[in-house]
Structures are given as structure tokens and as C-alpha cells.
Amino acid sequence: MAVGAGDLDGWARAQLSTLYGLFVLSMKMFSGRDPARILALAATSVPSLGPCTVAATYLMTDGSLVRQPAGLPADPELDPLVSKLDDRGSGAMLPDGTWRWAFLLRGASGLAGCLVVVAESEPTVDEMFLLKVLGQQTSAALANATQHRKGDAYADGLRRTNDERSEVNAQLTTTVNKLRQQQRVHEVLTRVSASGAGEQGIAHALSELTTLPVAIEDQFGNLLAWAGPGRPDPYPKLPARRREDLLRRAARRTSPLRERDRLISLVKPHHEVLGVVALIDPAKSAGEHEIFTLEYGTIVLALELAHQRSLAEMELRLHRELVDDLVTGTDNDSAYARASALGHDLRGAHHVVVVQWGDTPTDGALSHALAHAITALGWKAMCSRRSGVGVVIVRGHPDGEALFRSVAQELGTDTGVVAIGGSCDTPDGLPQSFKEAVRTLRIRQTSRNPRGAASFEQLGLYRMLDTGKNRAEVTSFVQEWLGGLIDYDNTRDADMVRTLSHFLDCGGNYDRTASALLIHRSTLRYRLGRMREITGFDLGDVEVRLNLHVATRAWQVLEGQPVEGRS
């Protein structure tokens, strides 16, 4: 303890110890941040500094002094007085003899509050000194609290800014990672597309990028390519109706469709579906990256398939132009060169085949069916289309019946005719072969059986009989010589005309005729006897026999039957 303190008188000790108490109080004030609490602390200290008590406290709030604690009703007498005080504060002796003083609490940024004290009588100078010290300490603490608040707000702002920056950085990192992934997808798929690896290459790239098995199907559901483990064998194929329903549902969406264990995306460069890409994802683990990869892969595949389609169409157009030129007539050298450029060797025997179907939905459908059939039959041929008629130039000797069956199967109807022109060894013979094919087509189409295959070479004698303008005369000739037998066959459901035709084709040989007709020799003999009775013709007469033979050949053509003995 300091020497000499005991020399002070009681007043001095009391004053100094009170000042020391104010010092301790100020430390508490400065450690607080709440202005209302600081003001309350000052208010509770007033009685310990002398005879005064606190009448009211005010805090500056939104530009005006507001009575504390918050929520107290306004004092109509005191509040207006306080609001008009000058910097030094104000004291007054009230009519009832009490003394009142308002201490304005002023900080660095202006008026911060007000402390109003009352006493039964005016305090001494020493007591006023202590009250003023309390007021100054309170003002300083309020200013400090204001600064702290600003500092806290600034720190909060900085913290928020840092948080926002961290969030933005995190978002940027996510975006950059996503862009990197997408860049890789772009690079890998672009490289595959440029390499010409086709559907299989794209499937492998997609599987590598997504770590999922990938299937690429054509529009009908046939597997074009598979990558990754677990390829099903045989590959499942939906029934046509369910397949169409699936494609319709997928086409309505702007993003891949989840279908059981698959995530599928349509390859649809324009309005036509060229195929389907499917991620095999039974665990349903595909996320944003996998979906982006699938969509991007679909675009690359669409370009690939559209390119293939474009090339095929161009090749088809070139084929058609060449076929059109060949059947209308072009020089041999040019024909050889152009055909060679398209991969077809025009040297050697060729035929022109024309095909027409009665109720084909579109020309395109006939062309498509014809192309499929030719591929299936393994023909070396070039196709075109002229006025609803499919035109094919075929190397070698084509099997018309096989082509007819194949096209009929493709189109699902047999209401058509396959007509084969005569053979030619050089391109300049193709226009004639074409004419013959067309003529054969017309003859067959106007026969009683306008469906099936016919060849110009089978027409034989009929080629001279029916030039296209004298059909009535031919019909009349047939009627003149075979009318009686035709009527007999029609009414009795017999087979006289055909029996006669075979008999004449076999040169009148009984055994060969019976064998060809799969009948007994005596049956043949009986039929020939009936023929003599019906017609009155003598089959032994050379003239009669010639006319009957010609008539049966014409009848066969008119009936649309294969010409016997020539097929």
C-alpha cells in the first residue's frame, strides 16, 4: 500500500475511492457492446455517487432521443425539454423544490444519449464533478460501442464477402470441373467421329466415358453396336407396336428417357428417327455427366448416320441417273466408265428388269423393298425408278420368281409384276432390253393373272403376235381356235386347253405328255378324244395343229401363266 494515503482526510479518501470505483465501472462499460446496457450501468451507479437518483435515460435512435428502457411511455413534460437541450446540458429547480439536471452524452459521431438525474436539493460541486465524470465515461463507452458495432458490421461484411467469395470459388471449381469433363467428352467423341470408326467406335467411346455398357440400335430395334460387358445374346427386340410407342415417348422429351434399366436417346437429326442410343444403367446411377455424354454422343451419332444416309442417297441418285441413261441409250465407253466408278462392271450379259406393284404405298417403299431384295439375292445390279416402275439392270440371268417373292415379302403383298427384258452383252443393248421388259410387264399386267414374274424370252411366239396394238386380233384368234375348249373347261372345271398345250409342246408324244401332266396315258387318250368331239378339229392335220399350237401359246400369255416348256 502506498505511503501517505493515510494523511488524506475523510472527504478526500471518499472522493478518490469513488473516482476509483468509477474507473472500475468504466472498465465494465468499455467491455460491453450494447448501448442500452451501458446506459443502464451508468444509471445504477448514480445513487452511489451522491444524493441523486436517475429520473430518465435516453438513447439516440434513428436521429432522435428515445426514452430507455425501450418501450417506456413518453414523458410529455420531460421529453420535449430534453430534445431542446444544448451541448452543455441543463439544470433546473422545480416548483416542488427538487433539483433536476440533464447530462448530454456526446460521442465522436454526435449526441448518443442523455442521463437525467434528480435530487431533493442541488448537489455539491464535488458531487456534480463525480456525476460529470460518470457522464463523460458513459459517453466514451457509448462512442466505443458505436465504433465496435461499426467494426463488427465491417467484420460481418468481410466475413459475408469471404463466404460469398468462397461460395463463388466453389461454384467456379464445380463449373471448371464440369467444363473439363465436357471438354473431354467433346474431344473423345469428335476424335472418334473423325476417325471413321462409325457406330461401334462411338459406342466404345460412350462406354469409356460413362463406364456403362452402351447399345446402339437402328430405328427398328436391331442392334448396330454394343460396347461394354453383358451383351445379351440373342439381343432382345421389342414387338413393333411397343417399339413405336417407345420411340413416340422418347420423341416427346427434350432429354433422355428412362426405360427400365436403360437411359435412351433418339438419333433424330431432322424429323426421321435414324436410331437409338442406350446407356445400360440398371443401378440408375447415371447423373448429369452421363446424361450430357449420352446427349453429346447422340448428336455425334446423328451426324455420322446422317452423313452415311447422305452418301447412300447420293450413290443411289448416281445409280438412278446412270440406269436412266443406260435404258434411254448412251455410248458404251461412257457407260462402262460411269458404271465402273459406281463399282459395277457392265461387261458381260445384262438384263433390264422392271417391277411394278399395284398397291404400293409409295415409290420409296418399292425402291426400298427392291434394294433389300436385290441385296438379299446377292445380285450385281443397279436400280432406278421411272414413273412408278422400278428399273433394275442386272448382271447375268436373273431369277424373276425369286425377286418377285422377295419383294412381295418386303412389301407384304403380291399384287405386282416382275418383268425381265432380253439379254444384252453391251450397254447399247440395254434400251432394247428395257423396252422388252416394259412390254412383258404390260402383257402380264393385262393378262388374267396380273401378278408374278415374266420374261420377254418366255413370251416366244407371242412377241410377234402381240405388238401392243393388236391385242383384240390375238384374243379373237385364241377364241376362234380354243373357244370351245375354254368354254368346256370353264363350265366343267376341266383342263382341256392345258392338256392340249402340253400335248402340242411334246410334239404329240403320249407318254411325255401324260408324264408332264401327271395323268394316266388312257386319261390323255380320253381327253384328246373329247377334244375332237368338242372342236371337230383333226389333230393329225398339220395346218390345224400349227394354228392350235400358236393359239395355246397366246392363251398362256393371255392367262398370265408361265409358258410351258420354256421356263
Binding site: 500500500m1 502506498a2 494515503a5 488524506l8 478526500a12 479518501r13 471518499a14 478518490l16 475511492s17 469513488t18 476509483y20 470505483g21 468509477l22 472500475v24 465501472l25 472498465m27 465494465k28 467491455s31 443502464a40 450501468l41 451508468a42 444509471a43 445504477t44 451507479s45 448514480v46 445513487p47 452511489s48 455517487l49
Partner: protein
């Protein structure tokens, strides 16, 4: 050997007003002071607030059984003379150096009546006289989170030494009767 408080050596007859913040800071200061005294074989008494009765004994562990616990609150107004009389008898009976500490939280939060504050003031002044007469170290704990200016300013006046924010300072102008 003299006692120590918060690393500072105390003189015999020390009467400290300890302004702390919260229970944790109080215990960080109180428990080492009491345990040091108990280890030396000194008589120690602690006046706890009612809701913390027995806490100090538990915190002192094995030494806790040697601690005497007192109670300030005996009515609406502090009967300081009775408490000091008991303390005086206790210190005489023990016949050794004594350490006394009290949590003054029992006084309660504001507003407080004038006679309560006057009784507290009288008690602290007389406690100072008693400490000067006996071989005693005394600590009075006042929580700054609990007490306002009506208690803080008078209590500064009544104590010759003040501890606050880690600093022990002398108060040569403390009130003496």
C-alpha cells in the same frame, strides 16, 4: 510462507475485491487459492450461493472434505455482524492461518433496496477490520455480469485491493470506519 492469488503473492490480512466475469473465471481463481491453503494445513471457508452448495468441495477433490462451507443469506437483509462473529470464533478455534472466500452473488440482481446496499457496505467495511485483526486472507467475488454500478462503486470503496481483468491493484483510498 504467504498465500498467492492468480500468481501474485498476498500479504497477510489481504482483503480483495475480485471483479470476475462468469462462474468459470471465478473457479479458475478460487479453486487454486483454496486448494493451496488446504494443502498447507490452513483453515479454509467458502461462502457459496445457494444453488452451488457443495460444488467447491467436489472441485477440490480429496481436499474438499477439509473445506468449511458457510452461508451468507440468513434473511432479507444481510446480518453482517452475526456472520463476522461466527467467522471470528471459527478463526480463533482453528488457531491457524485462515482463508475465507465468498461469492457475493447472493446479493442478487438490480434493483436493490437502499438498506440492502447499506448493509453490504457495512459488512465489507467491518470485514476489513476483522481481517486486519486475525491471520486471515479474504476474497470477495463480485461477478461483473451480475452487478451494476450500485454495487460496483461502493465495493471498490470498501476494499484495499481490487482484482480485475488479470491485474491486482491497490486501493489506498478505501473506506475505513
Amino acid at each position: 510462507m504467504s498465500a498467492a492469488f492468480d500468481g501474485v503473492e498476498l500479504e497477510m490480512h489481504s482483503h480483495l475485491c475480485v471483479f470476475h466475469r462468469g462462474r468459470a473465471e471465478r473457479d479458475d481463481l478460487l479453486i487454486p487459492f483454496l486448494s493451496d491453503g488446504l494443502r498447507r494445513g490452513e483453515a479454509c471457508q467458502y461462502f457459496a450461493v445457494a444453488e452451488e452448495e457443495g460444488d467447491a468441495k467436489r472441485r477440490l477433490g480429496d481436499l474438499g472434505s477439509q473445506l468449511r462451507e458457510g452461508r451468507y443469506q440468513r434473511g432479507d437483509v444481510l446480518d453482517g455482524d452475526a456472520i463476522l462473529a461466527e467467522l471470528d470464533e471459527w478463526s480463533q478455534t482453528e488457531g491457524t492461518t485462515c482463508r475465507v472466500a465468498g461469492d457475493m452473488g447472493w446479493v442478487g440482481r438490480s434493483p436493490r433496496r437502499r438498506e440492502q446496499l447499506d448493509a453490504l457496505f457495512r459488512y465489507e467495511v467491518n470485514a476489513g477490520l476483522w481481517v486486519n485483526r486475525r491471520q486471515v486472507y479474504a476474497l470477495c467475488f463480485y461477478d461483473l455480469d451480475v452487478f451494476d454500478g450500485d454495487v460496483i462503486v461502493p465495493m471498490v470503496k470498501t476494499h484495499p485491493q481490487i482484482w480485475m481483468t488479470g491485474v491486482l491493484v491497490d486501493n489506498p483510498y478505501h473506506q475505513q470506519p
